[in-house]
């Protein structure tokens, strides 16, 4: 093998390596780009005890055991082309809500802990931990007061009656019906802290398109900045000392005084 042949081989090898390396990189980018797009999701309801969406997708192995053990056929695995990340479990309460099994088979049988028992358990007084489906946070029910018949003054408490946490997650607000002047309105009201997102209210709602529906918590939950203190609530003022909002802001007393005292700039021509 002559020296020139060596050179040729080396060049050829290098060329091949670059070519394959390029293909490797492009392929990886296309693949990552596709998956990154395909895992995007909103407005999908996960089974009870599901980790936060990102962790849930990391942990779910897409085996469908939760779907199989669900006695009410509530859960489905996302088919490809359904705009829900493929193979992950979800449910649509208007079709079949979560009926809140107390033994929570979907969570207990999940092999990857993507459905985490600790998120649907409570510590008992005697130190043991017990399953408690009422701890689950699948979503929060939201009410459309425009189409809710109770807000029209028509008597309907289907959602209130269907709620497994009746008088806790949904309560009825008694108000006067100003339109008739002599009737009462029994308006359903949702308690976000208690609502589990099971969707039995959505399933029960009698309007043609449901007027109460469950949304993922991230889409619904509002949050107030720490610096807002409820001065009228006992104890809330104590947060002034613990909240960091003011302490984080660097204030310089001198510059503040200078700003207030310096009136020269007011008389300057532009």
């Amino acid at each position: 093998m002559g020296a020139s042949e060596h050179k040729y081989n080396r060049r050829e090898t290098l060329r091949k390596m670059l070519g394959s390396g390029g293909l490797f990189a492009i392929g990886g980018m296309a693949w990552a780009g596709y998956v990154d797009e395909a895992k995007k999701v909103d407005l999908v309801l996960r089974p009870p005890g599901a980790l936060d969406e990102l962790d849930f997708q990391k942990a779910c192995i897409k085996c469908g055991i939760c779907v199989e053990v669900c006695p009410y056929d509530t859960l489905s695995l996302a088919e490809s082309g359904s705009s829900i990340p493929i193979g992950t479990p979800y449910f649509k309460p208007r079709d079949i809500p979560c009926y809140m099994c107390t033994d929570i088979p979907c969570v207990v049988d999940c092999p990857t802990d993507a459905l985490d028992e600790s998120l649907v358990s409570i510590a008992k007084e005697n130190g043991t931990v017990a399953l408690d489906i009422n701890k689950s946070k699948m979503g929060i029910a939201v009410l459309n007061t425009e189409t809710c018949l109770a807000f029209w003054g028509i008597r309907c408490d289907a959602c209130y009656r269907a709620c497994p946490l009746i008088d806790e997650a949904i309560t009825l607000d008694l108000t006067r019906n100003e339109r008739t002047g002599k009737h009462a309105m029994l308006k359903p009201k949702i308690n976000n802290e208690v609502c589990t997102g099971c969707g039995m209210c959505e399933h029960a709602c009698i309007t043609e398109e449901t007027s109460i529906y469950v949304l993922p918590i991230a889409e619904v939950k509002g949050k107030v900045h720490d610096q807002y203190i409820k001065g009228w609530e006992e104890g809330d003022e104590a947060r002034i000392d613990t909240t960091n909002v003011y302490k984080d802001t660097k204030t310089n007393e001198q510059s503040t005084l200078d700003y207030l005292n310096d009136t020269e700039s007011l008389f300057e021509d532009e």
């Binding site: 394959s20 490797f24 392929g27 990886g28 693949w31 990552a32 596709y34 998956v35 990154d36 395909a38 895992k39 990102l54 962790d55 997708q57 990391k58 942990a59 192995i61 897409k62 085996c63 469908g64 055991i65 779907v67 199989e68 053990v69 489905s76 695995l77 996302a78 088919e79 490809s80 082309g81 359904s82 990340p85 493929i86 193979g87 049988d109 092999p111 990857t112 802990d113």
Partner: protein
Amino acid sequence: MSKIYNNRFLISRRIVQLLILGLFIASNYYGFKFIRGNLSAAKLFDIVYLADPYAALQMLSAGMLISVDIIIGSLIVLLFYGLFAGRAFCSWVCPMNIVTDTASWVRRKLNFKIASGQYLRVNRKARYWILGLSFIVSAIVGVAAFEFVSPISMLHRGLIYGLGTGWLIVLMVFIFDLLVLKHGWCGFLCPLGAFYSLIGKYSLLRIEHLKDKCTDCNDCKLVCPEIQVLDIIGKKSGYISYGECTNCGRCIDVCEDKALKYSFKKLKL
């Protein structure tokens, strides 16, 4: 009778493949507790979990700690294929095998002369690069990357829980194998096959070649999806030592001379 005999392992494989698939489907449909779940993870007899070790590794590289159930389930599968069955998952369990075998059967029947690599040059090592890439992509996007595009899990999961548009990717693989590249998916690209090739390299169950009986007819090479593993045919007796051999036994089926057989590798202790 000889027709059945000459297809005995092909028929056995189809029975095993369909039986496994059927048990999964029946368990879901009727609520049996034989084997619930799918090939990604399953619960056997409501006692022990089985898990796809490749999926578990992807999850690990996506940044998720793997649960004990999945570790044990993966180890059972790893030990079964690693010590005993070799790459048999691909030919005896995987539902895509029926699709790709059909593609290559049609190829043979229609006498397609498009040799592998005539239009598209792909190296059989490409699958190992795809295997490696799947871990990198999993780490970048933070989910198990192959599980989003895998025709295997799409088909298997789809047949149990609903396919959606998943049949499209199955059809893509079929057309790819039929018209573009002979044995293209299983033999060149599939990272799960690559994974089991690495796992199954040292398994005990092997195809053994008896050179003295071989008449060099090369029928085995005509049907083998991993033709490079048959390099000892007609040259020397011994075990097919490549991890890429799927232990499908098709070569044994077609061998008229009984020059090939399943056998257990003798351990040299």
